[in-house]
Symmetry: D3
Subunit: 252 residues, 6 copies
């Protein structure tokens, strides 16, 4: 299996639209190739019980796929009566990643929930969700700022994510579903605009990977994240200037 | 509260796109005003246990709303661990309505599941789902027919749905959310292309309604369904000629 | 299949006993033919969280069938760990219907829950439940009034329900199970003593129904509800004089 | 608190009606004082997976209370989504007790489920359920026998149950709710017609009990069970002659 | 099947270690033959809602088995999503037994939860849990006393438990799994140091048992409990002198 | 906070006992510092439905903590009725890691489930579980081999895991709970005996980490895994010679 739609170190075409939902405080529709995700950010003036009275905010995320986002239909988790392990793992990942670039003190005692609903899945749904969710969250914060509710803008850096993997011995950036299924090694990388790592999840279920392979994958990841951040910047426009570290070296 | 965006007997602008999902056998994206629904039809070569070996098929439906389809965020039913009564009621309604215009014998021992996922909700999500789901189902059946799997086309008539209600003493067609909340009497009407009723669900929780009001609402409903069917016909194109009763009087 | 136990526009023999439970504030045992339902009304001095502090009351209902109420044994919903869609739909219907004839302001900040438990099921369990639940609710309100807790009696009108349907081309009133299974069109009608509609739920899963059939069914429904209300009046005795609209035309 | 409605060694008035359900293979309505239970026995021509192919049958039981069987309303277990510990404990007890007097080989590869639904609860609901369930089970077996499906009648002995307890230092037979609440020691006794024990469950949560108290309680229990079996015999009529050990000494 | 590892009235070797957990307020590791249980007692400065503001404490217990505590692997109850009936029955029994020897007034408004986790099961897991849980609870109370939080030591008596049963016509003390499976009659006995009964649960599912057999089993039970209490005393050391009734006759 | 119980690149004392459970096919008790885990491997002669008839085996894992494994008591997941996200994430990780060193073809159509039950938790429960689970799995495979059920030994390499992290700017190996809570960057590393990576999960929730920090952490991880594998080898004794790659360079 050899990639012929683009070079090994190229990402798929990306489309990122903002303000797509009439009700949500921040909303994004993002396509990375045939992977399509709706990201809606909700602001609520309350925090989880364990954080009450500390003056700090909270950011969380939920992730779901429409039953027919995939080749065959999946039974809804609501019908099964419980969230699957994969879903929980992904929504915990998205939330942790978002929080890593938010100053919770600056957010104030309120919470932001970003819902990532996958409309169509062709590989990289979790990385696409993170990239889109970051923008949805920024838009919601813009609204809070415009309402004078924030002392300072709480986003400390850009944040985006891509998948990388080894397929047929070749390191590839941004795997589509077919490539992902054939990958021996599979890694999700979340990085900041400053070029540092927030999450690194590499798995070699089919065969282990060497230190050298790891290094190749990290290079590809950096390339991909850099491009994703450029797209985020364009979508956010002037608003992107408020994001911490925006001018300082790094990937942003 | 008086309607000023259109006349009492007018429906909102409708947009109906087909083949919007890469994987589903039939797919539709439908907007009725600000209500937006994705309808994906899945064909599976099996039937529920209670129907096995009878040579007849089955049609079913599921309904869900994205958490931020509404003004405030709703907790996901998957997170709650169970489907709410409203959801169950609606998906039972959609499925019953679809089955009423399908010859299950002609479908053969296979099943069609239509998933209706509400992306944005501004009143009439269940009626919009039915109108869209009917088209998604037809598209899936077109595919089965093209594969030579059907002896005859199993759709016996067109099927569409609208809501009607009494707001401030005035009978209105196709209520948006604001109108729906103010309605004293609220009715969902599902009709066939022949102009007959498939489902009639009228509720007067705030005050009962008279026989005369019922008659007015039924007239409005017929007007609305007629327009919805015209839109379905256009979307289906030539394929709509295969649908039973297509030439005979009625609304189609 | 032709009905031979009674005329098409006749209801089955009805038995309605009151005060059958030692603990419940209001209790009724009702038989309509071989359908047997226990209705117990409970008064609690609290309202659901979303209604607190408004000075208004709430009326709700629950519905269940004993496992062997039917020809074959059903698995208990408690054993399955969730309520089925049919159960939820029915208990929402009963509750909405009861609330339509209660002045929640006059009830005051307390709630009434009416439990309808079907002991034996032979068609019309939801309509029988509504007819019985209305009486159980009135009895509970009588007790509240006797305790001086009500400023005025909150029941604004009588309320009863019957099923109607089209079987072998013939419109029939009050279907027993065998008729219900054979019905092409099936409708549940809830009306007030004033002869207006509170709920209308008609389904033509096997074939759609025309406007004319609808009219025939509505006539039969009115006939049936009129008789049910007469039986309720007799059971309630003097207490029925307190119910709003009792003297004004209509069905009561 | 001193008992004044009857002597310490007297049971409450008992009413036991048979064939009260139109559908169940065996059905009983039993009252012991104000405790009222419906017992319906269902025969199914299958056994649980772990017993398949052994040629032996199975007997099981389920127990439930209507929400308003008690002074205040209990939330339904179906609404909670799970069975409580008390319910599970009781239905396991009823089932074990019934199996102790059934020759499962003689029953053949089929199962009997006895549903015990408490309509009103005034103490002794589990013991009343056992006494009623035994008769419902016999009636269902009578039907199987009449259909020629049994080689021999599988009931080896009579079976009944009563509660006993120590209230204010006095040993009492057949406690009503008020007495049960005040009891320091509380015991449920299930015995056969031959006068032997099948289940003995004694609890001294408030204070432990001595060997002598135990003996007193066992005497009372025997007295009570003897009377319950006499009532069962009368209800079963000629059919009771088929039950094993019917003529041999013991309590029957 | 004849017992050859010890005499019919002998218990298996017992090992009882204390303070085995670094975090729990009281902790015990107990082995009775090949049955191994970890008992951890937790003190929390709160009581269940129904007990608030009464100045009295509460004692409760939970019971679980590791999946491979038994010959074949059991599915985890957490994976099934609910507690089984056997588990609930056992944890209710342990809790009731513990409460029977605790002066809840003296405990003060706080609660003790004893977790009994069976590491390996070879018969008698519930009786072993009770015997171990009593010691874990005492250790937790010692800690509370040392902190000056108790006015008086709240344990009124010793408490231990053993199983007895009839196997091949012979009454046996402390059944191991193989014996338990072969037992026709099976009884769990919980007694205090004063030699009185707290719980008595006898079951004759395979055949009923006579009064004489009951007496034999009670004698064996007393013998077994006496030995268990001696072991508890040794483990508790000086602390055992605080337990009520410690000097007065009885088994302690 | 500075580590004073050992050097930054040292692991805690490890104790690894084998054959600790009488029933399990493979069993291990492992302590890493104060973290204590029981690992039991179960062999079942069946595979999950999606793998039937392929002649390949399956390896899976479950993970749980006793309620009082931690400073304060956690509510049991069985009592909550569902597995938490953290638990699911961990058991998926353990299973993936084990499968990475098993030749599923050589295992044959059977499955191995390794249960990891944390008795006491002081940091590194998931890494300790992996290290112990690997040995329990090998022991179960030894048993299968001794029974002549395996054509060849299916373990292709050693497998162990450690945690690493950055605390107060210093990279540390094998974090205990206190260090883990203070860590800004936290990484779990699973490696084979050949020195390659199987899983890499790094998180910088509190602040992102640089490429250089990553390299330092990977060095520490390799050091730790090397020591864990030495301990595994000693525990497995001669049996360790059967493991693939055992002689070839790497960490083993």
């Amino acid at each position: 299996m050899s990639r012929n739609d683009r070079k090994p170190d190229e990402i798929r075409p990306v489309k990122l639209e903002i303000n797509t939902n009439k009700f949500a405080e921040g909303s994004v529709y993002i396509e990375v190739g045939d992977t399509k995700v709706i990201c809606n950010a909700t602001v609520e003036e309350k925090v989880p019980p364990f954080m009450k009275g500390q003056g700090r905010g909270w950011v969380t995320a939920e992730y779901s796929m429409l039953p027919r986002a995939t080749h065959t239909r999946n039974i809804r988790e609501a019908a099964k009566g419980k969230l699957g392990g994969r879903t929980m793992e992904i929504q915990r990942l998205i939330a942790r990643a978002l929080r890593s670039v938010v100053d919770l003190q600056a957010l104030g005692e309120r919470s932001i929930t970003v819902d990532c609903d996958v409309i169509q899945a062709d590989g990289g749904t979790r990385t696409t969700s993170i990239t889109g969710a970051f923008v949805a969250m920024c838009l919601a914060l813009d609204k809070l700022e415009a309402q004078g509710k924030l002392k300072r803008y709480p986003v400390t850096d850009f944040l985006a994510s891509v998948s990388v993997g080894v397929v047929d011995g070749e390191a590839l950036l941004d795997l589509r579903y077919e490539e992902d299924s054939a990958a021996k090694v599979d890694m999700n990388i979340v990085m900041t605009g400053s070029g540092e790592f927030v999450e690194l999840q590499g798995t070699g279920e089919d065969r282990p990977f060497s230190r050298q392979e790891l290094n190749e994958l990290l290079e590809l990841g950096e390339t991909g994240v850099r491009q994703m951040i450029a797209i985020q910047k364009e979508a956010l426009g002037a608003s992107s200037l408020k994001i911490g570290n925006h001018g300082t070296g790094g990937l942003a």
